[in-house]
């Protein structure tokens, strides 16, 4: 690394808006292109210092791409948080021999019609 060139950029992310995990994942993703140092909770912000591994990298381009990546990763984090429970249910269902989502249909007797299907016509 050439010590003379402006070889580092510092990016800040609002910790209220972005998850730390998202910033970490973005840094990991950029691992082939730059070294990253992450400082969490600097006045409610997450600070990231990126040092490109090759000095031919355009720093402003890198910044934009990194910000987009954090945005993507944060979106993924919010999806993962929201869907974790249903994901576990689905995996359990996929490998179960019986329906875990529709108990009445799975084990109810059609003659008793516990779901009221036979009489549910709208008139």
């Amino acid at each position: 690394m050439d010590a003379d060139s402006p070889s580092q950029i510092v990016l800040c992310f609002d910790a209220q808006v972005y998850r730390l995990a998202a910033v970490k994942k973005a840094a990991y993703r950029f691992g082939d292109r730059c070294f990253a140092e992450i400082l969490a909770n600097v006045d409610g912000r997450i600070e990231v210092r990126l040092t490109p591994k090759s000095k031919t990298s355009a720093l402003d381009l890198l910044e934009g791409e990194f910000r987009n990546e954090v945005l993507d990763q944060d979106l993924r984090e919010s999806v993962a948080e929201e869907t974790e429970r249903v994901r576990n249910l689905l995996l359990a269902q996929a490998f179960s021999q019986v329906s875990l989502t529709d108990h009445a249909g799975e084990s109810g007797d059609y003659r008793n019609d516990p779901l009221g299907i036979a009489s549910s016509q709208v008139r």
Partner: protein
């Protein structure tokens, strides 16, 4: 005058009456997303559904800001990215689709490759195998090893089993093939598996005796065809320089004896192939094949060890692949039905709920649990590549030996389990988030 909407008879409820629960309970179903380009994301789920959305719309969707009356809302709901109080059956459907995708895992190992000899008359520089000259019988699999391999194989619970004979040149040890086929069939009277035999061969020692045996036992033939004569003979040198003539004549004889659907060919792309995509495809069409499997050089075995083969870059390979595929599409437009098998596999993965069983594209990898290799010396390898690697000194993917290890020991060995868990894209950092 305004057009009046035709009305239902008043004994029926209007559509709005059934929309009451739409939008309430709006929640996301498991999904992955990845940028397709600057403007769009592709969203996928573990059942293999996908949808391409402008980034702004995708963000709206994930923040629960999508209008429940919009077409995109319906699309996401139809493809099971979104759930609301209108319906819960999406959960059942997703689970079944996921189970279907994984169904081959449950069947366990179904492909068993028997390396009946390492001897070969060809001297192909790209050969993945460290071949041995024709007279060195020490490199033949013994009957004892073969019998143990058969026992091992029937330990797999898979209802469908494919037995593939490999080499070297497998037909140089035809007597062992005959022994294995006969023994497997005898045993299968009680086992009742769906068994298919394939001989991978360069067709050099094809004989009427072999063909009638194949006919009698419904054995398939798989051979190599790299392209037009000059290219093929350059890629696959043998004494006499007539590998192409041998292959083409053998394909014809085999088809005549066994039927066209019993004979397949595989190609390997060398540096010399890169400039001939059209010629290679044309050769396959000319030889009466309706598909081709475009395969890059494998980075294992003889080729790497010796440096006999000039490699090429991924970009060069992709360019070759693209040009071949374009030409194949053009052929189809001209009314010549022709398939590229690798694309077919990928498209089947993307567009259907079914798995492919193709061991190279699985999570976890198909090594051991989909396909397994019995080497001539009784060593058990996780894949064809694993034995190549072992020939060059790296025995990491050697799972055991037929003479000392049982099916259970091999399949539950730390060695295999470790490899498998490292290949599960469901847990590998970044892979776990990848939309593709």
């Amino acid at each position: 005058m305004l057009p009046t909407l035709p009305l239902l008879n008043d004994r029926f409820l209007g559509a709005a009456a059934f929309r009451a629960r739409v939008g309430t309970g709006y929640s996301l179903l498991p999904l992955r997303l990845i940028a397709l380009d600057a403007l769009r994301y592709v969203l996928t789920n573990f059942a293999g559904e996908h949808v391409v959305l402008p980034k702004a719309i995708a963000r709206q969707f994930i923040r629960h800001e999508l209008d429940s009356n919009s077409a995109v809302y319906d699309e996401l709901k139809s493809k099971h990215f979104l759930l609301d109080d209108d319906s819960t059956v999406a959960l059942d459907l997703l689970a079944v689709k996921y189970r279907t995708k994984q169904s081959l895992l449950a069947n366990f190992t179904s492909l068993f490759m028997f390396v009946v000899t390492l001897r070969c008359d060809h001297s192909c520089p790209y050969c993945q195998v460290s071949r041995q000259s024709v007279d060195r019988h020490a490199y033949d699999m013994t009957i004892a090893a073969a019998d143990r391999a058969i026992d091992f194989m029937f330990h797999s619970p898979s209802p469908a089993i494919k037995v593939e004979f490999q080499g070297g040149e497998s037909l140089l040890n035809f007597e062992l093939i005959r022994h294995i086929v006969t023994r497997v069939n005898d045993r299968n009277v009680l086992e009742g598996r769906d068994i298919r035999f394939v001989i991978a061969t360069n067709l050099m020692c094809l004989s009427d005796e072999i063909l009638s045996f194949c006919k009698e036992h419904d054995v398939f033939i798989s051979t190599s065809l790299d392209g037009p004569r000059t290219l093929h003979n350059q890629n696959r040198p043998r004494p006499g320089g007539d590998s192409y003539e041998v292959a083409v004549a053998g394909i014809g004889r085999s088809r005549e004896a066994l039927g066209a659907d019993r004979v397949a060919a595989l190609m390997t792309t060398t540096e010399a192939s890169l400039s001939q995509p059209v010629e290679i495809v044309d050769e396959y069409v000319r030889q009466g094949f309706n598909s081709i499997f475009l395969r890059p050089l494998s980075p294992y075995g003889f080729a790497v060890k010796t440096g006999l083969v000039t490699g090429y870059s991924i970009e060069q390979w992709l360019d070759f692949y693209r040009r071949s595929l374009e030409y194949i599409v053009e052929l189809n437009y001209r009314g010549i039905p022709f398939r590229e098998d690798y694309s077919s596999l990928i498209l089947r993965k993307i567009l259907t709920p079914y798995p492919t069983g193709y061991v190279d594209l699985q999570s976890p990898a198909g090594i051991g649990i989909s396909g397994i290799v019995f080497n001539y010396d009784g060593d058990i390898y996780a894949s064809d590549e694993a034995r190549m690697l072992a020939e060059s000194g790296d025995r990491r993917f050697r799972l055991g030996n037929l003479h000392t290890d049982s099916f259970e020991e091999v399949m539950s060995s730390d060695n295999l389990i470790d490899i498998l868990s490292e290949t599960m894209t469901e847990c590998v950092p970044m892979c776990v988030d990848c939309g593709f």
